[in-house]
Symmetry: D2
Subunit: 400 residues, 4 copies
């Protein structure tokens, strides 16, 4: 494909994270590193710890690790559980499966409620399983809020209700790696005990930071939890965080970016951020529908606003299609993961993103389908544009 | 329009320059400033002076000014002409008109061949006028290669031929501000004496640098030219440039960007750069046609590959339309200039740009037409996509 | 010198401009270019035009050119004078001499009051010459506030007084290229008509912008001034500037840096900026004295706070010394210019600079003197440190 | 201290890490994030894994974590050891003590050979302890190559020899967080099994990455090691790394910086990097001696070339002194850690650093001593300059 100008213009990074990092954040991480034990750093730290709470909608502490999201999963578990503890997990997709594997590696005993990778977590099944657990051996319920591999969300409020109605004392842990700051999420209101998050999606940062938002109940569990831990230890973190510092060297420059991200979210307003993601997701689904393709998620109430996974027609390779799109149009799409490998492609429409970039993205998908010879109807991009224009019209009217 | 998320995602800067500056160049100009009299600077300067020649397709010197393009116009005139000299100019549009005004301010006497702002320069009219000038009072013929206000190019080879066939000794000066490194241009082959260029279009730099590529004949004229000059003086420039330096302090950081731009053009290859611009221009015209709107340029042989000016339907305000596009979709389009004010909008598709960004751009125009209630047919973006996909297919086949 | 690590650590750019550009400004110019005709640009322009006034201490307009300082010299002259006009200039050094040459190239007739390059402009001589000019043929008095080639300032208030006492109507034009935002300067209070400035010194920007601050009287002169002008034309500039825009494409990204520079000056406070430069200049002179070397400037009242020019002992080559310093310590020092070539070296201590960087600079000079075998006494750096510590002590006491 | 210009000029970050990150690396991490599963990323990954080997002087794999150095300590232990395993550690200072605490938290049983925090690890004591361990219960010997809290190095070759002579099968693990790429280190030659390193010191990066270089023997131990692990798991890492990828999302932008750092080290040459650090350390010690102060490290053979810890005279507060230096001269010095709190200050002279920055650093210390009223002799900076000039002279001669 040597005659195409792959290098001209901006790459379209439309995987469901890492997302297109905005210039403001890239410039922020490009500032000189400072003394992580000096007064300027303490001021930065205090600002971050305060600024993160509204993003998680929590009143308790948010712990920040120099680590990927996987690290924050591990931190959630090792800080609250003991060897051999049972945890209840829902098979929502590839990342739920990975989390289960991680729990097993750490010596926990996951109950894995089966799923079809096309729905969110089944709150009724969770309620049922908890109801059977009269001895309260299950110490935690772990749910992925937004399954990055499938584009289905789980109803966390419903899961909370299921736990409450079962009168079960298990902790509720939620992975929001690809939903935080993209899809409405309420740590306190939904009674979540540990929220796990990462920097490289809705927070618009490069990867390298991850988070645990922690409830009082989780802190109580922490005090008696028996899994060995050092790097991830909340106690050491929380003590140092009180004055804005960290017990070991933090990823200073990524923290600069985090401060900028918090400012940007505040400037736009979280509600508008969520509305924007909803709009882009709906536009994307309209495109998929117009192409005659199938959205992987089967439950319209649980469509993800961060990404849309699209099923390839029978016999078509999603990976070949993605390669053609990358070669011809310099756009990265998400691959099918785990058992969905080569069967779906995923369109990320989260983070620092707008209507025209979405239109370019969908045009790239539509042209790629044509190039790859994938059976489809034309007109998806047009359908998305019709919707986006209508939404914009509504906005114009409101302020006329 | 307060409910729209204007701040999310990247701005679409689709005016016909300044263009979307690529990250590589922004990062380059962000490097520490160095001693403009030190050895590292001399090496940079020599690299630039050599690297610019293939971009202009010239073998003589290219002079670099810390100035806008207007400055390079002025430099071309004051270095080669004397007070009261006659110059022959073609009214191709707003910028040709401005250049005439500049010549008048400098005390020159422009003959301004009238034009309708919908065609390139008329080589036959130039030939005729030169033929009348038996006394060879006309000292220079000044033509805009690509009229940024209209999206029409002029046939420089034909102008050269006209001069030659008239046996006229006038210098040929060409403004390539919005064509250089976007549309094929050949300083030497076309016998141009002074080529005027700027940094902020096809060279992909921020504004702040401008250029004179200079022929032997222009240097001869320079020796006897009587207009006062100091800042713009070629003699001082050329002497200092010999060793890589400048007679006054150069815009060091923009020069870093220029070095990067030259590298990028070389990596992509000028022929591919031109082919990419041609492709995007054709796709844009197909969109305009599908919308049922009219391209301003009436001569298909002289369509610009840098920008497309689109006529608004009678009674519609182009400026209101542009404002709606800016507010709703965070895209800047070019305004109508001079007598075209409010009558046309201009789509810049030059510089560091690719198929998907063009698709997003055209989607923004199409949605904006709907929002603004401008009568049009849907389907322009689709038409562009059909063309782009077909072109990409051809490229794929070639390398299969 | 292959065994030295020239590439490690930061280069010391201790020429008297361009200066060490602070990271904040480099990052600012690294932002995406915007539409120079759009609303965001207008807001930026208005902010700049307002913010520049306190820097010049002027109430009238400040015009900003994409050009080097030489361009702003030219602008000052062509906007206010007519061919053949006499201008009175003072030979303070190399830059005054260059300015004279520029005036001559533009067709003006400079009277050049001779100087020894070791003092500022002689206000009495100016008064005398103006007194002789009964016909008021002299249209402008041009003085360099801070001679970058010698490190001597001129007393602008005294020059003003000389003009006033002579009852002479000549305009007063002052070059502040290496003094603005480093040494106290008062456009309005000193009755200056045109102040010429550049971006790359006290304003801490890369080179590429230059300035004319303009009085009412200068504007009056402008209306009848006969020198041809177009690019530099104040009328076109002022008209566009009214709403925050420019008549031709401005150097957008450097303007971002200018906005940042204005913020930084305001945050530090101009008085503290001046005090800092005074302190560093005094520390440098103490070092020079301790080395047993001679400061070029012979008038202690007119020592420059931006730079210090140091005379080499008889028979020693300043350029060889500077080359050794560059090779051994990766520091650029200013060369002797014009008739001072190879006789002096110049230490720039202006712009974004602090005590420890000055100490490193002086250590580099002192070590370089040793390496080059230049006769000198040790202890200059120590003398500077003694002074700097004493000054810091005073500051500590004030706030104790 | 309101009258000082704390904000002007560059901050001197002279803690012993994070170090002054060079612009090249800051700009590198400022590039757009890419798809961590795409082909460009794979190429980057493969380049990094190859490029790291010469830095560690190892032939086996180097594993890269998005984590601080503490994480890499944890990774070294959990990948190779089992609950209850004995490890032999040497109390070289604060970081050795922290590592012991970490081992305990993970359920290991450290033998902690006592030390006075003024020497490196005692190879003879290690040999003796291993000799007593007839049952080979000790599974690992853990040594800090360069104790960042004391400025003493440990002789790793001697430790290796001690293990070998004891015929003991324990693994050798070495913390090189503040020595790698600053002080000569030889993973293979010294028979180290796990080398622990971090990004923010000699590698000149911001914090956020850490490393395990791993021997065959360590990999063997890994296969049977019983500590739970998931995030840190070498097996998953090594499998993904084979093709240039990671098992979980890597810190892409810091990896860009790492690639740049490897290039910079290669360009300068590791031997020259080490010689530069040695030179700066010697110059610093000469300054300390001239001030009449005491270097904490008592063994001249084991002086650190990365940092120098200086004992405060009896009764003087190191923290007050450091605060004064920060307020008056905008320089961060390292604090005394653990039992050395307020008793020492530490001068970092590692990473991207040169002679003049060192001179500025020492001048800041010397002026700070004066300001703080700490009893000392003047002349330390001068002594350092004398040495640096002499060293530079030698270099000049070699190439004359």
């Amino acid at each position: 494909m040597s005659n195409m100008s792959r290098t001209a213009g901006r790459h379209f990074l439309q995987i469901p994270g890492p997302t297109n990092v905005p210039d403001r954040i890239l410039r922020a991480i490009d500032r000189p590193t400072i003394d992580h034990r000096g007064p300027d750093f303490g001021a930065l730290g205090r600002r971050l710890f305060a600024g993160l709470k509204p993003v998680f909608k929590c009143s308790g502490p948010v712990i920040v690790y120099p680590a990927s999201g996987t690290g924050a999963w591990e931190a959630a578990l090792v800080n609250t559980l003991s060897p051999g503890d049972r945890v209840l997990m829902s098979e929502t997709g590839h990342f739920a499966t990975l989390w289960r594997g991680l729990a097993e590696k750490l010596g926990l005993k996951p109950d894995f409620l089966p799923g079809d990778w096309r729905h969110g977590a089944d709150a009724e099944a969770i309620a049922a399983r908890l109801g059977e657990d009269k001895a309260h051996e299950i110490r935690a319920v772990c749910v992925v809020h937004n399954e990055t591999s499938t584009g289905c969300t789980s109803d966390i409020a419903a899961v909370r209700k299921a736990i409450d109605e079962a009168g079960h004392p298990a902790l509720l842990m939620v992975d929001t790696i690809s939903s935080l700051a993209s899809i409405d999420y309420r740590h306190d209101e939904w009674g979540v005990d540990v929220t796990v998050a990462g920097s490289q999606k809705g927070l618009m940062l490069p990867p390298g930071l991850s988070f645990n938002a922690v409830s009082e109940k989780a802190l109580d569990a922490h005090r008696t939890a028996g899994l060995p831990r050092a790097y991830w230890d909340w106690t050491a973190m929380l003590k140092a965080n009180e004055t804005g510092y960290f017990p070991h060297t933090p990823a200073t420059n990524l923290l600069y970016g985090l401060a900028e991200a918090i400012d940007m979210l505040q400037e736009e307003g979280l509600d508008r951020v969520f509305a924007r993601h909803d709009r882009h997701a709906e536009a994307t689904r309209r495109a998929v529908g117009a192409w005659g393709l199938e959205v992987l998620c089967l439950d319209p109430d649980r469509y993800s606003s961060s990404l849309t996974a699209v099923l390839m027609p029978e016999g078509e390779s999603a990976d070949r299609f993605r390669r053609i799109v990358l070669d011809a149009f310099d756009m990265s799409l998400g691959s099918g993961l785990g058992k969905l490998a080569d069967r779906v492609f995923r369109i990320g429409h989260l983070g620092d993103f707008n209507d025209l970039s979405l239109a370019g993205t969908l045009a790239g998908v539509e042209m790629g389908l044509a190039l790859a010879g994938v059976p489809h109807e034309k007109g998806g991009t047009q359908a998305a544009m019709d919707y986006l224009a209508e939404e914009a019209r509504a906005a114009v009217k409101e302020t006329a």
